[in-house]
């Protein structure tokens, strides 16, 4: 229990630090959303000042942070200047889409990485493993950006997949089954891109973790007892190799989020990414902070989830 309490404490500290950091840098720098209005001769300076005070931009920074934090605890992330609406519902839709995308990609990547990594660990040094090693190092050197652009090219040139968006224009007229099919079609390319982007690192880790375990004495003992090879691999080796992999899962949430930002922009998936880029260009402060906070929350929850999984699967931690 102490373990969880400490983890939870760390997570809260992290979120607080992110919020103070992003709030401070965004608010301390000159210029805000209403600054360009001041240049417009048709808008009087009184109107601009009124708008500023209406949105609370004229109060000192700590006060604003205090108010903002209070509102956040109530689930209100502030108001978007550009959309003139509360940030929370705006972000909620986008967050759902991003979660759908990253979740699918994560599942896809692990479903490929675990069997393939195990296979190359078992066949270590054989030609299949070597070819796999060359291919993964090659893939590692391909920037995510290039992967996504190639996928976009495929979509545009072949027309097999929609080149952007999440649903077709006629989405509302479809029945439930076709709606699902439509979303899946739109989801395929971005999820594939994300999976390709994260796969090489995962594959390497799965392989090295499995190699380490397969060389352990207890595996030899199990083999010497005449236990079937598949049972040795899946029932004996895999659970032991799971420990570093679960930690990797925690880390990979972060990389996945960063990569998804890019894939969302390139393949126009309506997630947090495009919203954030637009908000930055418009200096829509509360949207930016909200998006940054939300991504940190995803990250923290991902890490907590990994910790809990570790706790559940690895008895060594419980003894500690």
């Amino acid at each position: 229990m102490k373990y969880f309490a400490r983890r939870l404490f760390h997570a809260t500290l992290l979120l607080l630090a992110v919020s103070i950091f992003s709030f401070a840098i965004l608010q301390l720098t000159p210029g805000d959303f209403f600054a360009p209005m001041g240049l417009n001769p048709q808008i009087s300076s009184r109107t601009v000042a009124g708008l500023r005070s209406q949105y609370g931009l004229d109060r000192p920074l700590p006060v604003r942070y205090g108010h903002w934090l209070q509102d956040v605890l109530k689930g209100d992330l502030g108001r978007s200047f550009a959309y003139n609406s509360p940030v929370t519902p705006l972000l909620a839709v986008r967050a759902r889409n991003t979660l759908l995308l990253t979740g699918t990609a994560m599942l896809l990547a692990w479903l490929i990485a675990i069997p393939l990594g195990m296979w190359s660990a078992v066949h270590r040094g054989k030609w299949g493993d070597r070819v796999g090693g060359v291919v993964t190092s090659g893939l590692l050197a391909v920037p995510d950006l290039v992967v996504f652009l190639v996928l976009l090219l495929v979509a545009v040139r072949t027309g097999w997949f929609p080149s952007g968006g999440m649903v077709s224009p006629a989405f509302n007229d479809l029945n439930v089954w076709n709606k699902l099919k439509d979303v899946a079609e739109h989801l395929f390319l971005p999820a594939l891109g994300l999976a390709i982007a994260t796969l090489p690192t995962m594959l390497r880790h799965v392989r090295s973790a499995m190699i380490e375990v397969l060389e352990a004495p207890f595996i030899q003992a199990a083999r010497a007892h005449g236990i079937a090879e598949w049972r040795v691999r899946f029932r004996y080796a895999l659970p032991v190799a799971a420990n570093p992999l679960i930690s990797l899962f925690g880390f990979s949430v972060g990389t996945m989020l960063s990569a998804s930002l890019l894939v969302e922009v390139i393949l126009s998936w309506p997630g947090i990414g495009p919203l954030l880029v637009d908000a930055i260009l418009a200096k829509d402060v509360y949207v930016v902070i909200g998006a940054v906070m939300l991504s940190s929350i995803f990250l923290v929850v991902g890490n907590l989830f990994a910790d809990i999984l570790l706790f559940a699967t690895d008895p060594r931690i419980r003894v500690e």
């Binding site: 950006l145 290039v146 652009l149 960063s258 990250l299």
Partner: protein, 343 residues
């Protein structure tokens, strides 16, 4: 021995690539901003060894004088004149490493002719020249950010490992915090905070320093680990016994043992930061026109018609892959050599 060879090979390739970029002015036939509005999206120039009169030459020539927009019709390449490619030609002046002014370019053709090795972009600017000049900006970004990260890591990791106790605890907890941050999002937040009217160079330097400063945690952790074991070595303990000060010990005995880790971290971090700069610029948040960077070269691919019609616009993206491959190979070899040395 095999590792040494791998490392030497990677470093040689890397040096070749880097000198190509460093001396972009010499290797590029045109200036990065030179426009030819008559030649938008010209395909990579074809080299001919047979001139219009049917005579065979050993010196290749180009025949792309007329407007490429009318290229669909007949007689595109039949202008009747073939402009030979010359080496060491006089062209637009440029500066080598910002110091010496020179006019000599490696290759070029006489003025009505064009030589676009990698095609031209929407404004008729030579992609090859822009790739080389853009490399200067992108590589500089990677280099500055990596140096910042590693030196921050050295200071923090050195102090944390050397003094231990609550200092170590505090610094390493802070590092964990920084490792856990969604740093691309944070970088975006910082970009949002920059005023829109400051000059390109200021944007560039600010972004690069923020990138570098956010990334100190990973090198710091590794350097701390080395320092922890280094300060226990007998000669360090002996030097302390002779009354050496902390500063002297750190500078003379402890930090030199971390150089291997630092170099490895540099080779890993440089491509990472180059990519970060490319990503930001691609999204329109990094350095802007007219400064070329690898990100801005790729950003035109966001338009569907460019992506699907002009394959040569993809070339800069493909050229990045071997560069990163060389970087990672060098880092791999360094890591392995370092491991065997310390063991």
């Amino acid at each position: 021995m095999k590792r040494q060879k791998k490392l030497v090979g990677a470093l040689l390739l890397l040096t070749a690539f880097q000198s190509l970029i460093l001396f972009a002015g010499f290797f590029a036939p045109y200036d990065f901003a030179a426009q030819d509005r008559e030649q938008p999206f010209a395909a990579p120039t074809a080299l001919h060894f047979i001139d219009p009169h049917g005579n065979v030459h050993f010196r290749p020539c180009v025949r792309n004088v007329e407007d490429s927009r009318q290229s669909a019709g007949a007689g595109r390449a039949d202008s009747g004149h073939c402009f030979p490619v010359h080496f060491f030609v006089h062209g637009t002046p440029y500066k080598i490493a910002g110091l010496f002014v020179s006019h000599v370019h490696l290759f070029g053709v006489e003025v009505p002719g064009h030589i676009f090795v990698m095609g031209s972009d929407a404004y008729g600017r030579d992609q090859f020249s822009r790739f080389l000049f853009g490399g200067q900006i992108s590589m500089l970004a990677g280099l500055i950010a990596a140096i910042l990260s590693v030196s921050m890591g050295m200071i923090v990791g050195g102090i944390a490992g050397f003094y231990g106790g609550w200092v170590d605890e505090l610094l390493m907890r802070g590092g964990e915090l920084f490792l856990a941050l969604p740093w691309l999002y944070l970088l975006f937040a910082v970009r949002a905070a920059l005023p829109l009217h400051i000059s390109q160079w200021e944007v560039f330097l600010l972004l690069v320093s923020v990138m570098g400063l956010i990334g100190w945690a990973r090198p710091a952790r590794l350097i701390r680990g080395v320092v922890l074991s280094a300060k226990q070595r007998n000669f360090v303990v002996a030097a302390r016994g002779f009354g050496a000060s902390d500063m002297y010990l750190l500078r003379r005995h402890v930090l030199p043992q971390t150089y291997g880790v630092m170099v490895t971290q540099m080779t890993l971090l440089i491509p990472l930061y180059v990519l970060a700069e490319v990503t930001l610029t691609f999204l329109g948040l990094g350095v802007g026109e007219p400064m070329p960077s690898w990100g801005s070269l790729l950003s035109s691919l966001q338009q569907y018609y460019v992506l699907s019609s002009y394959w040569w616009m993809f070339l800069p993206a493909l050229l990045l892959i071997p560069l990163f491959l060389v970087f990672y190979t060098a880092a791999d070899a360094l890591q392995e050599i370092h491991k065997t040395v310390t063991l």
